[in-house]
Point group: C2
Chain length 449, copies 2
Amino acid sequence: MTTSEPLVANLEVGGRAPPLVQQVKDLFVLNPHAELTVSPSLSVCRWSAPLLQRLERSMSSVTIPPPACMLRPLETPMRYLFGPGPSNVPPRILAAGSRPIIGHMHPEMYEVMNDIKRGIQYAFQTENNVTIAMSGSGHAAMECAVFNTVEPGESVLIGVNGIWGERVAEIAERMGANVHRMVKTPGGYFTNKEIEKAMEKHKPVLFFLTHGESSAGLCHPVDGIGDICRKHNCLFLVDTVASLGAAPIFMDKQNIDILYTGSQKALNAPPGTAPISFNERACHKMFNRKTKPISYLFDMTYLSNYWGCDGKPARTYHHTGPVSGFFALRESLAILAERGLEESWKKHKEVAAYLYRGLEDLGLQLFIPERDLRLPSVTTIAIPNGYDWREMLVYIMKHHQMEMTGGLGPSIGMVMRIGLMGYNCEKSNADMALNALADALKNCKRSKA
Amino acid sequence: MTTSEPLVANLEVGGRAPPLVQQVKDLFVLNPHAELTVSPSLSVCRWSAPLLQRLERSMSSVTIPPPACMLRPLETPMRYLFGPGPSNVPPRILAAGSRPIIGHMHPEMYEVMNDIKRGIQYAFQTENNVTIAMSGSGHAAMECAVFNTVEPGESVLIGVNGIWGERVAEIAERMGANVHRMVKTPGGYFTNKEIEKAMEKHKPVLFFLTHGESSAGLCHPVDGIGDICRKHNCLFLVDTVASLGAAPIFMDKQNIDILYTGSQKALNAPPGTAPISFNERACHKMFNRKTKPISYLFDMTYLSNYWGCDGKPARTYHHTGPVSGFFALRESLAILAERGLEESWKKHKEVAAYLYRGLEDLGLQLFIPERDLRLPSVTTIAIPNGYDWREMLVYIMKHHQMEMTGGLGPSIGMVMRIGLMGYNCEKSNADMALNALADALKNCKRSKA
């Protein structure tokens, strides 16, 4: 900055960032004729046009100044995350995620990934070799499953009884699949007979079902469906994002061909990784396709090599995995292994039952009438008469620093949702949630109702 | 476990995890006739077949036991990450990433995302409204850029002078684009004349160039290319994963239409997020397409809404962003804003020059002869005669706990690479790297050379 042109700038006076303040001071030492204008809006800052035009494309030609908002420290509140996810991350997992990182292809990283693989095998109850974690959230796993096992023009059958089936249908349509939807209103479920009938009609290569339909609070039965899929030469893809660790699932015994979940629900890791597993049938289909999957990033040929699942001696560079996210995911899977699946399932069932009683005591109605079909991790209640659900949720957030949520997709306006998952799954938390709801019921009643 | 069938199990005796040990003990209390077999391989464990067959698909039917590896604590070494990335993450960024999380759609999260947007605008030197961070690494940004701005059948021109151009070509081919490659050997670069000639021939809708070609250590000139692209009605897409913060780039002034980078290079955040920006020209093309982008997850219509860039009052749920990753990214962008781009560029240039001198003093030859074309963040050296580069790298890792790497893609066997990026970019670190190299040169000389 060796010009003596007038310039217009603003800066945060007395901010916490000496480097920028010093920079600006230096600038005025170099440029004693500079005109300083402190604008009321600290976030907008421009050098004057004449100066701009004369600046060369060199190191000295920075024209967009450092934003004032970045000179303030990061501040985030403490929240009770009692919605359908993400759930609170326990200190032990936060600590694992904040370890100094190593390279994404160091042997020690491969060990961490091998551990994750075994942890997922346990959580999914599978011996599948091709078991990995996606470098992305549940949606990355969803796209990965569809992109790899379906080719354009092939028939796909999708159970839509909430938002997730609709998402998978959209994903499959975009990549050129011939999509058939079986549709139920939120809270509805499909009988095995209905599924087999639709399978006979549409002859799909893939059938999708959501085990934990978090938008409606439904835990869909899966027994027997895998057998029907085998009979009809179809792969069975199951989404357990909201249910894994909270409700029993047995990938191998239930003949599920592709299973995935997310990290931020009952596993309590931060969002950003997603376990997924493919059995031999799924591998046969996806590794014998005529066309390449449309995404290079989600191509299981490369991902299974990166995760050491393809039997090749060397792992070659594909993409840079989220090292810290994998550290955190490993810790979350370790906690589940130490605790045991049965114990985790039992706890979710008990706390959910405790919550149901409390909700009923408050005069609230559970959205899923059949107790056995309720998702233990996410409980849905019908919106009480005479209340605006948005107002109740805002009230609870404001006065209790607690997240509960409304519906999602087709269930919007139908339900309110309370999630007590993994680390959060304690009776004491259910009491807090019930207390917050009671408070909202008392204070948010509408006069005109 | 209320059966009295014999069963076969193994367990880690004296491991650190009482819950599992207790579980197994409980099992034998419930099942006094169980046969216990401790296998030499602790990681393999089966219940006997007769039992398996009779088990119901219920909470008691867990057949894959908790893996022994998960009962050991996570252990990772401390490494000097002086390769081409990821680079070491400073404690301040690790701390930001380990804060208790909040919801991905809480107002405070939107504030963090707004801050990130401004931080990227500064780092990219752009005023583009559609400026976001991908929930994924640089490859996610790469696919996002191509998927959104190109439709199947359209012509794309790609500068391939190392691995990154080849990757983009592969991505564009998979989604059905008509791909034209301009190819140079690693270290080569394209003149504006060559680019314009190819553009006249192939009439592409998109031209891709890597600013920081980390596989060869080249910093490609970009001045004037944006103007050529405008003249030919073509979008200019630039990859700055390895160069951002280390070498000057001016998105707006250099008429770059789409720019992206990664989090784990000079920004020093953990891998897993990737800043990307689209200008008005790029938005016009991508928001007026005939077909939907093939990826729902990377569809900029949804992503720009999630990031509050589409002018709509409400942000609707699309996917769950990596909350902790965004906290860390915000901190990394804050550090860059406090320090200032000019200071960061100057530091990288100075430390690189210092490293060059040291390397030449060791008798090593820099791979890119033209000093001005060298990438300040990643320095490439020709493999010295009489040495096996793999042996040298293994030696340096073993004796100095330091990562340096070989080439990547077409540059494998041609170069060794030293990265000193952001937090790692200090003369003291250059000294350590030079010391490690001197040690390897002394101890890895092959007799037959």
